[in-house]
């Protein structure tokens, strides 16, 4: 499946069917962050319900503490 993640075209396995699985795929699930799918922010409690489909535009931002 083809996704545009943070503006970049990426191919992810077809078993990445929702936002939670996508975050797992990138090892980002235990980080504080915000996910936007097609310009709508996905509620944190709904990551597992929010499906991901071909050509979606996904923005993933995670908060870090360094400075």
């Amino acid at each position: 499946m083809k996704l545009f993640i943070n503006g970049e075209e990426m191919i992810v396995p077809d078993n990445v069917t929702n936002v939670e699985k996508l975050l797992d795929y990138f090892n980002l699930n235990n980080k504080a962050g915000i996910v936007e799918r097609n310009q709508v922010i996905v509620d944190r409690s709904l990551h597992a319900e929010e499906s991901v489909t071909n050509e979606d535009r996904i923005e993933i931002v995670h908060f870090v503490g360094g400075g």
Partner: protein, 341 residues
């Protein structure tokens, strides 16, 4: 005097009026690490009337790669960052008021520091202090600019009380642990990008050009050539304990704050005594000289004891850093054994 700021005055969104405003404003910078020194230098050169830089640590060799106000001499002499930064900033601009405070910012400190301040800039290295900034910002209606970076990644967001979501709204829950500059490293260009975004937002706030504020969350990876923004207004929660209708500012409640902290991946534990009184370093030095197998060194601001393969650093404000361990109970044992109370 005017010549100095002429190129900035020529920039029409600032102009004469903006320059005058800058000279009347007070910026509080929490942290004098990479982001702190970069922000401080830009704002001092820009002619912000008063800059207060607060930091709890001292300069080390590993700082010099990116913390632009410090020199090798500062690292050799272990000069507290707040002192070294203020010294260099005064060399850069002697016409403004610069204050360097050696302190660990907790509830009492932030409540005192925030008084009379126009904006705060986040240059901290941990989430706990950011939550403190967040609630102080909401309680005293002072905007702050979040900034953070690790590796080649960084992000920034401007929080304006009563207008934008607060940091707590964005974050959900405070993350535990995670990447730090000491575990995944950090490159200077990533720092400079974040600092540039923070300083630009600071200038807009200080010249009161509110309509030019960025209003979205900016993030990038300078190594992977990515950058983007997210509109986050919708994350503002009406029932947020920090910025909502019935805010209680939970992060300003001392019950919610730790006294002992493992510092950002540094193999260091900080112990902050409950009773706040100034530590007499001369007296402590005399006492520690007598300890067998220990080596005592110091300067005006801190005292360094090397013993049992560990290094203890005591500050005048009472704090002690125990280097060489992440184990809080071991740190407490060493603290009680050599420093006491």
């Amino acid at each position: 005097m005017k010549e100095r700021y002429s190129r900035q005055i020529l920039f029409s969104p600032i102009g004469e009026k903006g320059q005058q405003k800058l000279s009347e404003k007070h910026v509080l910078l929490i942290g004098a690490g990479a982001l702190g020194t970069s922000n401080a230098e830009m704002l001092a050169r820009a002619g912000v009337g008063k800059i207060t830089v607060v930091d709890r640590d001292y300069v080390e060799w590993s700082n010099l790669q990116r913390q632009q106000l410090f020199t090798e001499r500062d690292a050799v002499e272990r000069i507290p960052k707040a002192v070294a930064a203020a010294h260099r900033l005064r060399e850069i601009n002697s016409e403004i008021n610069i204050s360097g405070e050696i302190m660990d910012v907790s509830v009492q400190e932030i409540e005192e520091l925030v008084e009379g301040v126009d904006i705060m800039i986040d240059a901290t290295d941990n989430f706990e202090t950011r939550m403190l900034l967040n609630d102080a910002s909401q309680k005293y209606k002072v905007p702050w600019v979040y900034g953070a970076c690790t590796g080649s990644y960084g992000l920034s967001y401007t929080i304006v009380p009563g207008q934008t979501p607060c940091f707590s709204c964005l974050l959900g829950a405070v993350p535990m642990g995670g990447e730090t500059c000491d575990t995944v490293g950090i490159i200077s260009p990533a720092v400079q990008i974040v600092a540039a975004y923070q300083a630009a937002e600071a200038l807009k706030l200080l010249v009161e050009d509110y309509k030019s504020l960025r209003r979205n969350l900016f993030y990038f990876d300078i190594w992977q050539n990515q950058q983007s923004t997210i509109k986050v207004e919708k994350l503002k929660k009406d029932d947020c304990p920090s910025c909502g209708q019935a805010s209680t500012y939970p992060n300003l409640d001392p019950v919610n704050l730790s006294r002992t902290a493992v510092l950002c991946g540094r193999d260091t534990v900080q112990i902050r005594p409950a009773n706040k009184k100034k530590r007499n370093l001369d007296e402590l030095s005399d006492r520690l000289q007598a300890v067998e197998g220990g080596k005592v060194e110091g300067n005006t601001f801190l005292l360094n004891l090397t013993i049992e393969g560990r290094r203890l650093v005591a500050f005048q404000d009472g704090r002690v850093l125990i280097h060489g361990t992440k184990d809080i109970s071991e740190a407490k044992t060493l603290y009680n054994r050599y420093i006491g109370g």
